[in-house]
Symmetry: C2
Subunit: 100 residues, 2 copies
DNA sequence: ACTACATTTCTGGTATTTTCGAATTAAAGT
DNA sequence: ACTTTAATTCGAAAATACCAGAAATGTAGT
């Protein structure tokens, strides 16, 4: 992964609200959650929520798929893994210390 | 690690300049780099650089120690590892897929 | 005390982010 | 076509981030 993309993903996660949203999606697993469900659970106004989700989608950490009237959001686990890999290989002293 | 602290650290790393600074410190290893060395290598104006480093220090990702007239900055590897652990355990589908 | 050096803090300007109500678009049922 | 539901986009305010020159601070040598 390139530094610039990593920085953008880190920035997207570097906000309490968005990190909470992302974690909620992780908990939901592959099947994801609709925007409405996230809204109900976390009590974030629709427009605010939409912007935050949009930021996560832009960076590839979350994907969206329309199912009838709802938009289902899912965590993109593979991209998160890539980000973690980036941090471990570029930002750690020695991989063995953490991967061992 | 708590969500709020993780968000702050992610935010600190979620900036191209700061992520570059941090990587530079990782490369320098335990012995670190003085602010002046970072300044020379990355060509960032002193005041700007100082602010960025300060943000990294605030979140615990970097530490500073005065050595004579210079300030030596070092990456706090253990805190970075904690952050990676947080991401892997709270923000990934299944640890086994990445730690295997 | 004076000078040089290393870095921070001050200051101010510009840009971006965050927030959220209101208006709008999209989809589905009646 | 009309209504309801689901979510986005618009618009505008407040807060925060970013940048960098100038001034101040701390440290060491003369």
């Amino acid at each position: 992964m390139e530094l610039e993309q990593a920085a953008k993903q880190l920035e997207a996660l570097g906000n309490k609200t968005r990190l909470t949203i992302y974690r909620d999606l992780v908990e939901a697993g592959r099947q994801g959650n609709t925007v409405g469900e996230i809204n109900e659970r976390l009590d974030i106004p629709p427009s605010t929520l939409s912007h935050h989700i949009s930021k996560l989608v832009q960076t590839g950490l979350v994907s969206q798929e329309r199912v009838s009237r709802s938009l289902v959001c899912s965590a993109e686990f593979e991209n998160m893994e890539s980000l973690i890999m980036f941090l471990a290989s570029n930002c750690c002293a020695d991989d063995s210390s953490i991967w061992g």
